[in-house]
């Protein structure tokens, strides 16, 4: 089949959506399909939105048998066989309208724009033969705001076979960009309250030095240099595989993220238990407290207790790691499932 994968992008800015598109391309090509990747530029400024949306309406991909659209507003593209793997809305005009994230005035002009956007989005969504999302959270928003039914299709990680378990040391690892909303600082605070020799490893790059510097200071102030390993850099894929292979458990506790995040499923493939918090969002679709990990309250005390528990109840931790791996099948997180559903 000739398949076009369409998404919007900002040049030179890496985004989570690029992985989902590019990995899907690789998997489709492996199956013998011809794939064209269509990335179109998009700027979210409210006054430029509709002009760009009209542009997307004129994209001609009739040469493709079907198109799969990801990031907004690529879902505006027309095609007789349009499939959406909907990652998120322009959230500032949807669920983030009544939050400080909306930098625009709540005036008639912007409300009108918001309502017009909802209408146009809904009409474009309706054109799709099938709408998939990357999480329950996003599906619920589609129902609530656009009245659209959708099917959750969890995004897998590429070459998952790489991940394996080699044993369990005493480290809880958090392999993820160092950003405030990922809340590595919360774990450092928790470490100060732990009573066991459990250790913490934080690996990831950051947009600026501000947050990593703050973390460094935090570690030093609490005298945790011996027990907290802070690596402010992009670690290689192989290093990641190794770190996950040896760790005790993996943490992933962003603030209210839609999707479960690749780190969670990488850890699950590596058969390691997960540590997260009750307000982390989509990752709670993956992690069930006591089953394949621990869901703590988003407080240092609760996290400290969880980390100690993972350390002391080692057997349980190992067993939860096995459960984490099994859970991937339970939720159909696999490329074969993805391809089956997208090409149905």
């Amino acid at each position: 089949m000739k398949i076009a994968l369409c998404s919007s992008f900002i040049p030179f800015l890496p985004s989570g959506a690029r992985n989902i598109v590019e990995w899907l391309q690789a998997m489709l090509e492996k199956e013998g399909h011809q794939v064209e990747r269509v990335y179109l530029p998009e700027v979210d400024a409210p006054d430029l939105l509709f002009q760009q949306m009209t542009a997307f309406r004129w994209i001609d991909l009739s040469a493709a048998d079907r198109v799969i659209c990801f990031r907004p507003q690529s879902h505006l593209i027309r095609h007789p066989h349009k499939i959406l793997w909907f990652i998120h809305h322009l959230r500032v005009f949807y669920d983030l309208w009544d939050t400080p994230y909306r930098t625009y005035e709540d005036d008639l002009r912007h409300r009108g724009l918001r309502d017009a956007l909802h209408q146009a989005d809904t009409a474009a969504l309706r054109e799709a033969r099938h709408v998939f999302t990357n999480s329950q959270v996003v599906s619920e928003r589609l129902t609530h705001f656009n009245g659209i039914d959708s099917e959750v299709l969890y995004p897998p990680v590429i070459d998952a076979e790489r991940f394996h378990s080699r044993g369990h040391n005493d480290e809880i690892v958090y392999v993820c960009r160092l950003e405030h909303h990922k809340r590595q600082h919360l774990l450092v605070e928790a470490m100060a309250l732990t009573r066991t020799p459990v250790r913490l490893r934080l690996c990831g790059a950051s947009i600026s030095n501000t947050y990593p510097d703050a973390l460094k200071q935090q570690v030093a102030a609490a005298g945790l240099q011996g027990r907290v390993m802070l690596e402010n850099r992009w670690i290689s894929e192989q290093e990641k595989v190794d770190v996950l292979a040896d760790c005790l458990a993996a943490a992933y506790l962003p603030l209210d993220e839609d999707s479960y995040g690749y780190p969670s499923i990488e850890a699950s493939h590596a058969r390691k238990a997960l540590l997260t918090t009750s307000d982390s969002g989509g990752v709670l679709e993956l992690v069930r407290d006591g089953d394949n990990g621990i869901v703590a309250a988003p407080t240092p005390q609760s996290l400290a207790a969880a980390m100690d528990k993972l350390y002391t109840e080692r057997q349980r931790t190992v067993a939860m790691g096995e459960r984490a791996h099994a859970r991937l099948d339970e939720l159909n997180i696999s490329w074969s499932h993805v391809l089956k559903r997208l090409l149905a």
Partner: protein
């Protein structure tokens, strides 16, 4: 809100009602007077709140920038509405259109904008109309030629982001020209200090009243003839004219009245109190128009609110009034139809009473400022929803125009399908 402010403007009076209703509903309103600067020295309606003048560039610009919605009260009188024409192109907004025929407004504007005027005429009405438009020998032939063929309704419609007008008869041209919503809402008006007395039945005199600037389309001559043709009317009627009137009209009408032995009283303009008492005294008010140019008649509404029996021409806005509220006469058989109506009213005080009461009740429930204000705010919300797509399409058509191409390239089936998700109204224009 851009509106004439001078007292002589009935539109100005309507605006004060709407402004106060908007404020009562919790909105902030800034008024911008849109009449000729020289007319602003005259007494103004009382709008309350901030009142600016359309020539105050900085203040008006700031007011427009800070507003959620801009509204323009537009009528056919150039001197009263010049400020609207200056600001509408650069500060898009909702137009409250009081007259479907805007030929005089357009003509006066065209004096300093000939090439643009011709382009507008050509695009809406074709080359022939455009060539002849400024070549009419007098105002009567101009009116006669253009009232149906080139009323200029589309010119204003196309500039508006939405239109509220006050009756249906001329709205078709607005549907076609305005890219935004077009709604018909009853014109708000009031009867200030109206005692709303029923027909005044003391004495044998039959008081017939016509209010407003005395020009031929108010059919005063026909009323005189109708009264003159009936002995009973001739003997008992005093026909009063109140409103601006030119000397030669006074002479002509007086001479006509003498010929027909009709008792004609001409009063020129009266102040508010005098006007109210004159209306009070009237048994019947005639509100005739031929041709009828305005969307709705403030004077007819006013008379109904005063509980007066009103005689109207069965056309346009007046046709839409309920039959049990006014008496309608046939414009094709004007004088004898008028005579019949006047005689009927003269002979039956009960009819006058019933008609007047019913008119008052119905008018009071219909021509409401609070309802109008609500419609205005709802339209503002509709416009804000429609604007993003419209602006986008405007940008595209202007790019196309820059490339020397017409927007026809955007109106093919393929483009319509593509743009349909943005709402059908966006496409149609």
């Amino acid at each position: 809100m851009f509106t004439p402010g001078l007292q002589a403007s009935a539109i100005g009076r309507m605006s004060t009602l709407v402004v106060h209703a908007l404020r009562a509903a919790g909105h902030e309103v800034t008024v911008v007077r849109c009449e000729l600067e020289s007319l602003m020295k005259k007494q103004s309606h009382d709008f309350g709140g901030t009142v600016l003048s359309w020539g105050n560039q900085a203040a008006v610009k700031a007011a427009v920038a800070g507003a959620d919605s801009v509204v323009y009260q537009v009528g056919n009188n150039y001197d009263f509405h010049i400020g609207c024409l200056e600001w509408l192109p650069r500060a898009p907004g909702i137009v409250c259109l009081h007259d479907f025929f805007l030929g005089h407004l357009f003509w006066a504007w065209a004096e300093r904008n000939r090439p643009a005027a011709h382009a507008i005429l050509r695009s809406w009405y074709g080359d022939t109309v455009s060539e002849r438009y400024f070549a009419h020998p007098d105002s009567d032939s101009f009116l006669a030629s253009t009232v149906d063929a080139a009323p200029m309704t589309e010119w204003i419609g196309a500039m508006a982001s939405g239109v509220i007008t006050h009756s249906n008869w001329g709205a078709e041209r607005l549907w076609r020209s305005c890219a935004g919503p077009v709604h018909v809402v009853p014109l708000p008006y009031n009867a200030p200090a109206g005692r709303g007395a029923a027909a005044h039945s003391n004495g044998p005199t039959f008081h017939v009243l016509t209010i407003g600037h005395v020009n031929p389309n108010k059919r005063v001559a026909s009323v005189i003839r109708a009264i003159g043709n009936s002995s009973v009317l001739r003997d008992h009627t005093v026909y009063r004219l109140v409103g601006r009137i030119q000397t030669d009209t006074v002479v002509a009408l007086s001479s006509l009245a003498r010929r027909y032995q009709v008792n004609l009283l001409i009063s020129d303009e009266l102040d508010d109190d005098a006007l109210v008492s004159t209306i009070d005294q009237a048994d019947v008010v005639t509100c005739l128009r031929w041709p009828s140019l305005e969307a709705a008649s403030a004077s007819a509404i006013e008379s109904m609110l005063y509980g007066k029996p009103v005689i109207v021409t069965d056309t346009h806005f007046y046709s839409e009034l309920p039959d049990d509220c006014v008496l309608k006469i046939d414009p094709e058989d004007e004088i004898s139809s008028l005579q019949g109506a006047l005689e009927k009213l003269y002979e039956s005080p009960e009819l006058r009473s019933t008609l007047g009461a019913r008119a008052k009740e119905w008018a009071g429930a219909t021509f409401r400022a609070d309802h109008y204000a609500q419609c205005l705010t709802r339209m503002a919300a509709d416009v804000s929803r429609v604007r993003p797509a419209l602006t986008a399409i405007e940008r595209l058509t202007s790019t196309l125009a820059g490339w020397g191409a017409s927007s026809d390239w955007l109106s093919g089936d393929e483009s319509r399908t593509a743009l349909a998700i943005f709402g059908s109204s966006a496409l149609d224009n």
